[in-house]
Symmetry: C2
DNA sequence: TTGAAAGCGCTACCAT
DNA sequence: ATGGTAGCGCTTTCAA
């Protein structure tokens, strides 16, 4: 009995057939009592663990799921991963993490891992499917899309209401008395960036506020673009008194640049972010931002995927999880509520 | 030919045996030219992908490795993951991420996944092995320990020189002219925290500086403990002019608390962290800290693991990767270089 | 309640 | 250079 014990070893020791051992260990309730206990004890004594490859081959399942993200270096995904992992392990699944780096080749590759026995299902957080000619993605693969939207794909979605969240963030600024509110967008025309921008526009419109020329700056979610856009904003004839950034990372870039230029946050300019990253609350001053329940999103996505995998029904409408505006230290009323009333131009 | 194509399907279509197909696709160079191309073309046409469970069962390998961390929610590990993942995929491996949450049960469980076909090897970042009575960890499992130290375990290690790094951080403060330098430790007696503390002590000693009573505060790497320790420091009869924190997260807690108490960083007090987290450079002011080449650590650990898995030799001395002190905005000379000379007491 | 045996899809050995 | 085939370890019919 060299090497790891196998089912046959237990069977031989106990004096039953491998089939009985398999049934006993699977807890099918089909094995009678004297035998059952002896099998269990022997298995424990040998420290037996079923070989997963053999089991997977036989059952045609891997008990693994694939979490595919755009950039595994972004801490944003970590919390999601945690939620996914927790729900997965409760159900006996392990989690493979895939990192596309926006590379279409990788996207296709990960998608293919669904079919080749690597994983039974997939949680997609990249916002896009591999090019249709590369795969036969029919829309009924066991895939759940989280946070992003893959329009018309037929997959279940777990999302936040980006439009409403952005709107509430901008409304907060408006309620503080701001009128010259700028927005730094994410990469357009990605739907997520689009929605947040539309939320900004809607809030402005509902408040009867004009969006001055140059007040919409186009960023790409990275720190450096926050810096650049901030510079562009500071070069404008009329300066904004508040800036709504499409994510926290850009907000940090903005705040850094404002400080460097001697502009105080929030005294001179208010800044709002989006994401509530790890340590955003620890920033100086603590960042006002839209908080996403990331672990919860992960957990929900995994739960839906598990239903899907067990053949149960899945929601055909996107599941919307609530966001929360965290008002912290980077927002305040504008310095001089009245001196900003220079009228509006388009 | 319903379902996914298998090797036999290709064999039938091309009119060769499954063995030949397997050899052709494996690129063994044992298949002659007219056949080779036809097999490849047919495989491509069918979009054939080998079933991994079958292959794994047959080859007794999973082509997966396990990256086990203490807390998957800590962005610190992300960069490491990226390095591991990159090196892994180059070699055709996938990466399973395991999250122990310091739970011994999970630690044992992940360790067991090494034997049951889940993974071929493991990169351990938890700093401890499962209790020895739970596992037959003999020290020659394919395990590489990264960043932490598992003394006397016999596994290859990839580490940083915590002592030297801490020493250089404190030296930087000393060179700026600081004498009253406090230290907030990690959780003791963990080796990593210990080493950093010893580095601090060595630097002080070499400079002939006394460590005043209360200048060593015991933290636990979490933000909140930075806040608490900072309060304790501020209650001391003689205030430190500089604080060396055993990680960035506590440094953020410290800076936040200093700000709240009206103490300016770095004008009144200098702060140095350790880790160089995502966004530490974007902090206001940008954090002076010890930068660890995380992706590189991950990559190196994976490279060693790959050697180990291919039967090659592995370093029997810990591989030490270089850290770098990033001098940024939270350190400056002490406010009044001379008024601090009140003599020393033990 | 238990056993016998087929077979998941692949690779690698032994032939030819 | 290619084919035949055993067998990796498990689960699951079918029979008893």
């Amino acid at each position: 009995m060299a090497g790891r014990p196998k089912i046959k070893d237990i069977a031989d020791m106990v004096g039953v057939s491998p089939a009985t051992v398999s049934r006993a260990l699977a807890g099918t309730g089909l094995v009678a009592e004297p035998t059952l206990s002896r099998i269990r004890e022997t298995a424990a004594a040998l420290d037996y663990r079923p070989n997963v490859s053999a089991r997977n081959l036989r059952t045609q399942r891997s008990m693994a799921i694939l979490l595919v993200v755009r950039d595994a270096g972004n801490p944003f995904y970590l919390e999601v991963f945690k939620g996914v992992e927790a729900a997965a392990r409760e159900a006996g699944y392990s989690v493979l993490m895939g990192n596309t780096e926006d590379d279409p080749v990788r996207e296709t590759e990960y998608f293919a891992m669904l079919g080749d026995g690597h994983a039974d299902g997939m949680i997609l957080m990249t916002g896009k499917l591999p090019a249709p000619n590369d795969t036969r993605a029919t829309g009924d693969e066991p895939v759940v899309v989280a946070l992003e939207m893959v329009e018309g794909s037929g997959y279940p979605h777990v999302v936040i209401d980006n439009h409403a969240a952005a709107l509430s963030a901008v409304n907060h600024l408006i309620e503080l008395g701001h009128q010259n509110i700028a927005h730094i967008t994410g990469p357009l025309p990605e739907p997520m960036s689009q929605r947040r921008m539309e939320g900004y526009r809607t809030a402005m419109k509902l408040a009867g506020l004009a969006i001055r020329e140059g007040f919409e700056q186009r960023g790409d979610y990275l720190l450096e673009s926050g810096v650049q856009c901030c510079r562009a904003l500071l070069a404008l004839p009329v300066l904004p008194t508040a800036i709504f950034c499409a994510n926290d990372e850009m907000a940090f870039g903005v705040i850094g640049e404002l400080n460097r230029q001697g502009v105080s946050v929030p005294d001179d300019v208010s800044v709002v972010g989006f994401d509530d990253l790890f340590l955003s609350a620890a920033f100086q001053p603590p960042l006002t931002t839209v908080s996403q329940p990331r672990a919860d999103i992960g957990r929900q996505a995994m739960t839906i995927l598990l239903s899907r995998l067990s053949g149960a029904a899945v929601p055909d409408e996107p599941v919307v999880v609530a966001t929360q505006l965290k008002v912290r230290g980077t927002t305040a009323p504008p310095k001089s509520l009245t001196t900003q009333h220079q009228g509006r131009h388009q």
